[in-house]
């Protein structure tokens, strides 16, 4: 049983330009992404900035209205704002910037209480004391003291704030948490603390994660399955180990080499030449063609579909 499933999920943003906003341009942020997630599984979403990985998370949650495609959450098809409550009771989100994602004028306790007070499905039926008890419980789970709950976000370090962010997602008892670059704003020594916290919560409560990150090594460490995105589409997907040991797509191969284990005077590269196409452009061929070392004529003519190759799926004409 899948917690959620997307089929050809597409999101285009319209940008208006010009003095009278007369020129409309379409940003192809997501171009038909089909993914799914099993219970208790961590799905890693990797890619460079602008590849649509964050947009995917937000569109999946309904924060952005989808342009086309289907979203199913816990077996129910999501059609519009009426389903928001259903989605949010299953999926919650942890944001990238722990400094920006908490309201500076609300105490930690107020921030944590909010999901309980605003949504019928999670908490309004609870009594006030039960809500407070739940907040205390969550504070403990994420490693903060009760007294710390009365403080304001600016009194915490980045790592502690991210704990609060995780607690806020956790309090709705979701089955899945979308972690949108949860550690990239943190110091290296704190990153591991947050990852360990996420792992512990998964072991205890069986929560699934969508782990969105550009840090391939961390994604490999936390996820069982991984999807590599490039320019709004998935170029490779499969079990983490398989993708790492036998990466099929040239982009995945390059990413893995770029994230090779640390060694003094290690070689820099491989360097991908060529520019990333603008997301405003209508692409006919493979989005990676402009930088691909193995490009053939066909790559510029038609977009390769995501096809099954053993355990993996890959979108490349040459595989």
């Amino acid at each position: 049983m899948n917690i959620w499933e997307t089929e050809n999920l597409t999101k285009h943003f319209t940008v208006r330009r010009g003095l009278l906003k007369q020129h409309q341009q379409v940003v192809h942020a997501l171009n038909g992404v089909s993914l799914h997630q099993g219970v208790g599984e961590t799905l890693g979403l990797v890619g460079e900035s602008g590849c649509g990985k964050s947009t995917f998370g937000r569109t999946l949650m309904g924060l952005y209205p989808k342009t086309a495609g289907r979203v199913l959450v816990a077996g129910r098809e999501i059609t519009g704002p009426a389903d928001t409550d259903h989605v949010l009771s299953h999926i919650q989100m942890v944001f990238q910037d722990p400094y920006a994602s908490l309201n500076p004028r609300m105490t930690v306790r107020q921030s944590l209480l909010e999901p309980l007070t605003v949504r019928a499905t999670t908490g309004t039926s609870l009594s006030e004391t039960a809500k407070q008890a739940k907040v205390d419980d969550i504070l403990e789970q994420v490693g903060l003291s009760k007294a710390q709950g009365e403080r304001y976000p600016h009194e915490f370090s980045g790592g502690q704030r991210q704990r609060i962010g995780i607690g806020r997602a956790l309090i709705s008892s979701p089955q899945c948490i979308i972690c949108d670059e949860p550690i990239s704003a943190l110091d290296v020594s704190i990153q591991v603390q947050i990852v360990s916290l996420l792992e512990r919560l998964q072991a205890e409560q069986g929560i699934s994660y969508v782990f969105i990150s550009h840090d391939l090594n961390m994604v490999r460490y936390v996820s069982q399955r991984i999807a590599v995105m490039y320019l709004g589409g998935v170029v490779e997907e499969g079990p983490t180990q398989a993708v790492y040991e036998t990466p099929l797509h040239p982009y995945t191969q390059a990413l893995i080499k770029l994230n090779a284990p640390l060694a003094p005077h290690m070689t820099i590269g491989p360097v991908l030449t060529g520019e990333v196409p603008s997301p405003l452009a209508d692409l006919w061929g493979c989005p990676f063609a402009s930088r691909c070392p193995e490009k053939i004529a066909q790559c510029e003519e038609a977009k390769p579909p995501l096809v099954v190759r053993g355990e993996q799926k890959v979108a490349c004409w040459r595989r």
Binding site: I190, Q191, V192, R220, Y221, L255, P264, M266
Partner: protein, 356 residues
């Protein structure tokens, strides 16, 4: 954990033999050359409403010509402040700066006035910033900005440029920008992030500096672009025989570029030495912890450094790292260790005491 260390040790031994050879050749070169910069015992305290912040507490460093030195540390450890002090960029009205000596190409600069610093900036020392978007003026064409840097550089060197266009083109080509002629007329927002950083580097090179400072030059970029910029910096150090002092929180960047590195924690250097030594046989528990925090394979268990980053307003007594250190001893909470043989840790003294 130990198994991994051994493995790392083995790897570094191979590279070390190579490095030793390289070192002897470069040492011969370095003997005649004066160091580009020698900073001795820099201390910077900022005065804020909440009280004084000792951002830097006694940092020393040296950069030789043709050498790449890395400064590693987490946010707030004082690495950026150290870099800014080398350019005379610290606000003296709200910071107290004390330094034993600051030699730029053998000349004492600690008493320099703003006007004297301006003579050095761009021509002797140039800086590459983290965010290429904010380092460029968005309303001026690339060519205009480049030419201005060139003119400034030439003025300070008491030269004149015959053909600014040609000089700008040459600079852009030097930093690996293809189709340079068209790029000159473009504006910053028309370029990709990597391209912009190349332009920023080109502008830094306009005054032909001997020392390039780079503050997290690739942090705002994607990995694939990062590789391009790192490669460019490495090439430039070789071809221009510059010194490069690079700040990064990313150990990979340091490992790829640097000859020597210093690790900073709470405003102090806690370990310094060659990249081979520090990455292969880290001595300080903090550096050990940092290296243990990097997932190298799917099966490693990550070794988290516990606790919170240091509170710069009220630093712990003794070693600043001791509240987070797994190997902390009683002395660590009482006295601050000194930087001996490149390591600032009481464990070194303990080892010696045991061996005797």
């Amino acid at each position: 954990m130990t198994a991994i260390h051994n493995e790392r040790g083995a790897v570094s031994k191979d590279t070390m033999t190579l490095a030793v050879k390289k070192d002897t050749t470069s040492l011969a070169l370095q003997k005649e050359a004066t160091p580009l910069v020698v900073l001795a015992n820099l201390a910077v305290t900022f005065h804020t409403f909440a009280g004084p912040v000792p951002a830097v507490r006694g940092v020393s460093l040296t950069v030789q010509p043709g050498e790449v030195v890395g400064l590693v540390g987490e946010s707030g450890c004082g690495k950026s402040v150290t870099l800014q002090s080398l350019m005379g960029l610290l606000p003296t009205d709200r910071a107290t700066v004390t330094v034993d000596s600051l030699l730029v190409q053998g000349e004492e600069c600690k008493q320099y006035s703003e006007a004297q610093w301006r003579q050095l900036r761009g021509t002797t020392i140039a800086m590459v910033f983290q965010d290429p978007m904010t380092a460029l003026n968005p309303i001026l064409a690339i060519g205009t900005q480049l030419k201005e840097s060139l003119r400034l550089g030439a003025k300070r060197h008491n030269e004149t440029i015959a053909d600014e266009e040609a000089a700008a083109l040459e600079l852009l080509t030097k930093v690996g920008i293809a189709d340079a002629k068209r790029r000159l007329t473009q504006y910053p927002h028309e370029l990709s992030g990597g391209m912009r950083q190349r332009v920023v580097i080109a502008m830094a090179l306009a005054g032909r500096p001997t020392l390039l400072l780079a503050d997290e030059p690739t942090t705002a970029l994607d990995v694939t672009t990062e590789a391009q910029i790192l490669l460019l910096l490495k090439e430039l150090v070789k071809t221009e025989h510059m010194g490069l002092l690079i700040i990064s929180h990313n150990l990979r960047v340091i490992a790829q570029l640097c000859d020597r590195m210093s690790v900073m924690y709470a405003g102090q250097v806690v370990e310094t030495g060659t990249v081979e030594d520090l990455l292969g046989k880290p001595q300080h528990p903090y550096l050990q912890g940092l290296l243990g925090s990097l997932p190298t394979s799917a099966t490693t268990t990550l070794q988290a450094i516990g606790g919170q980053p240091p509170d710069m307003f009220s630093l712990p007594k003794g070693c600043a790292f001791h509240p987070r250190c797994k190997q902390a001893m009683r002395v660590c909470a009482r006295e601050m260790p000194s930087l001996t043989e490149g390591v600032r840790c009481w464990l070194q003294a303990e080892k010696k005491a045991v061996n005797v």
